[in-house]
Amino acid sequence: MSNTATARFYSAEFFEAAFPYVATVLMILGASTFFPEFLSANYLLQQMQIAAFLGVIALGATIVILLGHIDLSVPWVLGGAAIISTAMAGSDNAILIALAVPAALAFGALVGVVNGIGVAWFRIPSMVWTLAVNSMLLGVAVLNTGGFNPKGEASPLMVTMASGKIAQIPMAFVIWMALALILFVFLKRGGYGRYLSSIGFNEKATYLSGVSTLRVIFSAFMIAGACSALGGVLLAGYANQAYQSMGDPYLMPTIAAVVIGGTSILGGKGTLAGTIGGVAFITLLSSILSVMQISEAWRNIIFGCIIITMLLLQTLRRKRV
């Protein structure tokens, strides 16, 4: 039954996932002809660290998008997790400090449950419901912080997670890869990944096959919520505080990274590996544009044009198959 698995390795799925990696490498090589420092180990290691922040969020987003849904509550789950963890870490209570990170992750999972209630029970389109949840979280944050920057600081653990190193490799990157591995195994074992894909293609038929679709949807949103929260914890560790609207710049790049990584926005098809490549691409693109000191206006234009080009290339590739 699974000697065909080898055949699949060389199939279209592999090329879809490899595409962003190839594009990233080409982009770095191209940019390095203007600025050789793009190829320095220092720069690349730093990029691996920065990419991890977007990367953990994008992994969670991939799971929800495979289902055929979308999670637009990323910005304020991230922000909320940062606020919670820095507030707890900035207190004088040793227990609270220790629980800072787990509490933030639990917060993310809890928001995932709320998302699941709207999407799986009330059948509200995920785009609308997660947007509404995001608004509510924003409201809670405003009420809580009075519109100022939240008080608090990152705990030593958080700082290490965000900025520490293991033999030169950024800790954040290690965490990202570890998360990717855990999710990969989780998706492969027990058919969870298959359930995601089947629901993404046809939820009704999957339900009629005796799959507990409710459980899958709830758990997917919980995972995504926890991943966004982890992103918030890392960012707070990096900046040593939580700041207003820290999550807003992460939503659109997350979606772009997932789609460039070959995952279909309609659900069913996609890989975690592709998303990792997409994150690498987006991170390097933003960084190169910023290092080259391109004005914000042109950065926006170039960013948009390159995304469209990547997508058009994807379409061309699929047509030839």
């Binding site: 419901w129 608004s135 509510m136 995304i307």
Partner: protein
């Protein structure tokens, strides 16, 4: 009459809700039901309503437009250059502003149709490009609009806010004829069942591009009305309007899956959103709590709208739409 209610149930409910909210607003506003109050309210509503109408056309054909806000910002910035001088200049200027929107929308449509890429990700990327161009035009907010012209558009005619008159003209002179025409039917057909539309001889690609162009045109109208109200060009307004336009159409009974809903619904949804904000403002509730309450009200309204799902006696029915 009963048929009218049956087929437009969601719009009727939205209308009743709006009526109730508006009455409450007038009752609590310190200046009561005066032309001044109604004009300010109508102006604010019209901006969002036009954005919601733009979103409506795209959603109707089973798409989503994440660049509505960006097109608004771009048109707004164009207006700040072009709506100066007088007489015939203003006329051409107004056309130029709206045409900017149409071109942006048409570009979206072309990429979606001929690039075979999902609208959500195309408009995400093009939105970035449009904002970039807007920033090129107005790196910082500035510029002016001919004040007399702006006043004419935003004050009142014989006690009735000009915004209301503009709305009435749009609905009676544009929407009702469109709804009855072959093009209007084609929009609904493509959103409801693309296969049926194709087999009936409708040119799906052309009509879809048209829908996007129509959306862009309304976004251009929204941007130009924004200029009349604020009299400057600002590239930063985008994100808010995009997300609110989605919430507005959903509140107004438009289905995100396409083929269901009306322009009136988009209008009503936008007015409901704006009226809630205004209500909050004058309600005496603590300002810090207002975003949260708005978010909760939005979430509640959406959940109530979907609550019939919980009462379905056949579990399979929840999967149809």
């Amino acid at each position: 009459m009963l048929d009218l209610y049956k087929h437009h149930r969601r719009e009727c409910i939205a209308f009743i809700v709006l009526f109730a909210l508006l009455s409450l607003y007038i009752a609590t506003h310190p200046r009561g039901a005066s032309t001044y109050v109604m004009t300010i309210w109508a102006n604010q509503c019209l901006i969002l309503a036009l954005a919601a109408m733009a979103q409506f056309f795209v959603v109707l054909v089973r798409g989503i437009d994440l660049s509505v806000g960006a097109i608004m910002a771009l048109s707004n910035c164009v207006a700040s250059y072009v709506l100066v001088g007088s007489g015939i200049d203003l006329f051409y200027g107004s056309i130029a502003v709206v045409l900017t929107g149409t071109l942006c929308g048409a570009l979206n449509g072309l990429i979606v149709v001929y690039g075979r890429i999902q609208p959500i990700i195309v408009t995400l990327a093009t939105g970035s490009v449009f904002i970039g161009i807007a920033l090129l035009l107005r790196p910082t907010p500035g510029g002016t609009i001919n004040y007399d012209f702006a006043d004419a558009m935003t004050l009142d005619i014989a006690g009735i806010p000009t915004a209301v008159i503009i709305c009435a003209v749009l609905l009676i002179g544009f929407w009702i004829p469109l709804r009855r025409s072959g093009l209007g039917r084609a929009f609904y057909a493509i959103g409801s069942s693309e296969q049926a539309a194709f087999q009936s001889g409708i040119s799906v690609n052309t009509v879809r591009i048209f829908a996007f162009a129509m959306g862009g045109t309304f976004a251009g109208l929204a941007g130009s009305y924004f200029s009349y109200v604020t009299a400057t060009g600002d590239a930063g307004i985008a994100a808010n309007f995009t997300l609110n336009s989605i919430a507005a159409v959903v509140l107004g009974g438009v289905a995100l899956s396409g083929g269901v809903g009306s322009l009136v619904g988009a209008l009503l949804g936008a007015c409901i959103l704006k009226t809630i904000s205004s209500l909050m403002f004058f309600s005496g509730l603590p300002p810090l709590a207002q975003p949260l309450i708005e978010g909760v009200v939005l979430a509640g309204a959406i959940a109530i709208g979907s609550s019939e799902v919980l009462r379905m006696k056949n579990r399979l029915q929840v999967f149809d739409r």
